[in-house]
Each structure stands twice: as C-alpha cells, then as structure tokens.
C-alpha cells in the first residue's frame, strides 16, 4: 500500500470525523488540524440536566425535555361523568352557554307538523352535536293551583356517529303531571307516549346542526312532538 494511498485514507477519515462532529452541532473550523479534533469532540453536548418547572395549563402535547418537573393545571372543558364524553353531558351545555359557544334560538309552529320531514331549527353550525329543547308551561294543572315552569322537552346528544342517546326530563313537573316517557326505537327514531289521552310519535334526524322532524298525524291519533302555538327554546352545543 503506497504512502499516497495511506494519506488519502487519513484525509478521508479526517473528513468523516469532521462531518460527524458537525452533525452533533459543533462547528469545525476549516483550519482545524487533526490534533485539535479531540477538543471539539469534548465540546459535544452529551446530555441535558433538566432544571426548573414548566407550567401546563392547556390540554395537548407539551415538550418537557428541559424541565425537571411539570405543574399541570388544566381547568374547564368539563370532567368525564360516567360513560359520557365531556362534550356530551348537560354540564358541557352550561359550559358552552357561559363561554358563548352555544347556539340558541326559539321556534313556534303555526300548525301541526306535516307528515313529511321539516326543519325544526338550524343551528347553522355543523360542529354542534347536542341539543336540548325547552318549553314554558305550568305545573300543578291537576291541582287547580298553577305556577309557571320550564319543561325540558328532550335532549339529544351524540356519543359517536352511530349511537344517539335520548333523555326526557320534565322539570318542575309534579308526579301527577308527568307528560310521558320516551323510548328509542332505533338510531333515528323516537316515540313519545303520553300518560294523557294524546299519543305523540315522530321521527327525527339531527345532522350537521339541523333538526328535522317528521310527524305522523292522522284522525285516529295525534302524532307530533310539538304543539302548534307553543314557543319552544333550544340550545345546541
């Protein structure tokens, strides 16, 4: 092996070492000779000693590499209750109302809902997944002494694209004035059976912030979830 070949090999080795040092973040001046490389290698940072505390106040992925500890204090957004996701429980509605992100409105039907699907309200926000509908009424009708009350007609929230949970909670109702109960036929249907003489039955669809309801109204039974000449208020979040 010739001397020239050996020199070339050493030059290539030096160039390779220079490249490796620079890949570790240390600049190698062009005039550096081989015996100066050890100093540069010693200057390569070999590790981080974490110090201080990082304060984390929002959800998400946070780089905590350089910190010895993290102070996590994420408030708001609701807490998981039972099997509900944070956005799919009534407390999230209160949170959305308080923070101005909830959509609200009201509607009054002029007549009984037809037997074709009609838009009941459009929240005009495809991100909303849940809603409640409320109506003002009276309690104590059967006792002769009535007082104003607000009734939560029904509440729908989506836990996923395929599962819809429905709840009906007549608020401020006496036991003798419960309006009925609600049962789920399948993902897209609801039926409300009243304890009084009327029978309510309807199909609903809740997609992209738009509630559509198709009544079934005929001379034998009244199939409609909403009365004409009654103002209902809704909240969607």
């Amino acid at each position: 092996m010739s001397i020239a070949t050996e020199i070339t090999r050493l030059q290539n080795a030096k160039a390779s070492i220079k490249s490796s040092i620079e890949s570790k973040g240390v600049t190698v001046p062009s005039a550096t000779k081989l015996d100066g490389y050890s100093t540069l290698i010693d200057s390569i940072q070999t590790g981080i000693t974490p110090t201080g505390t990082i304060s984390i106040t929002t959800n998400g992925i946070v780089d905590v590499t350089n910190y010895a500890s993290a102070d996590v204090n994420v408030s708001g957004g609701g807490q998981q209750i039972g099997i509900q996701t944070p956005n799919a429980n009534p407390l999230a509605m209160l949170y959305a109302l308080e923070h101005g992100t909830a959509k609200t409105g009201e509607f009054t039907l002029a007549t009984t809902l037809p037997n074709t699907a009609k838009t009941i309200f459009d929240a005009q926000d495809t991100s909303v997944k849940n809603f409640v509908i409320m109506a003002e009424g009276e309690e104590g009708i059967n006792t002769g002494t009535t007082t104003p009350a607000v009734y939560l007609i029904f509440m729908i929230w989506l836990q996923s694209s395929t599962l819809r949970q429905i709840s009906i909670m007549p608020i401020s109702c006496r036991n003798d004035n419960i309006s009925g109960y609600l049962s789920i036929k399948n993902n897209a249907d609801i039926s409300i059976a009243s304890s009084s003489t009327s029978l309510l039955y309807a199909y609903w669809d809740w997609v992209d912030g738009v509630l559509q309801v198709k009544a079934q109204y005929n001379k034998h039974m009244q199939y409609t979830p909403f009365k004409a000449n009654t103002t209902y208020r809704w909240v969607a979040w």
Binding site: K103, T104, G105, E106, F107, T108, L109, A110, T111, T112, L113, P114, N115, K118, T119, I120, F121, D122, A123, Q124, Y181, S183, I184, K185, S191, A193, L199, Y201, Y203, Q216, Y217, N218, K219, H220, Y223, A228, N229, W234
Partner: protein, 85 residues
C-alpha cells in the same frame, strides 16, 4: 346581540316562525304580527285542522289516516307503555 327573526315557509304555508338561523329572515314587526295570528289559530278536530297561508289567513285541511311506519308489536308497545328498545 342582534336577534334574527325568521319564518319557515313550505308550499305557500307558514310552518313556523322563530329566532335563530333557520328559514327566511323577517323583521321583528312581521314576526310579532305572525305570532299574533298563530295565537288566534282556530281549533281543529280529529278530522281537520288549519294551516297558515303566507297571506296570514287560515285554511282548513282534512286529516287523512296515515299508517305509521311501524309494525304491530311496536305500536302495541307504545299504547301499553312498553319500551321499544
């Protein structure tokens, strides 16, 4: 906060009025006028009811029987208060 009043019209009849983003925007004056008419809706019966025309007059219509899209067992459950889950 500016309130947006609307009316929802289908086939020449006013289905509903409201506050929010639906339907055709109307003035508060028109909203209150329609609401006043709705408050004076004539009472229907089991065989006929009234629907509100765009000119704010009521038109009587007959209620035709409709066969619900459910089987007999489901209807029986509704009548008897059983769940259809």
């Amino acid at each position: 906060m500016v309130m947006r009043y609307y009316k929802q019209v289908a086939d020449g009849y006013i289905l509903s009025i409201g506050v929010g983003g639906s339907g055709t925007e109307i003035t508060e004056t028109e909203y209150n006028e329609i609401k006043s008419v709705i408050h004076n809706k004539p009472q229907g019966t089991d065989t006929y009811d009234y629907q509100l025309k765009e000119n704010l007059t009521w038109e009587m219509y007959g209620i035709e029987p409709v066969v619900p899209d459910a089987d007999a067992e489901e209807l029986l459950n509704i009548l008897t208060g059983e769940s259809n889950d």
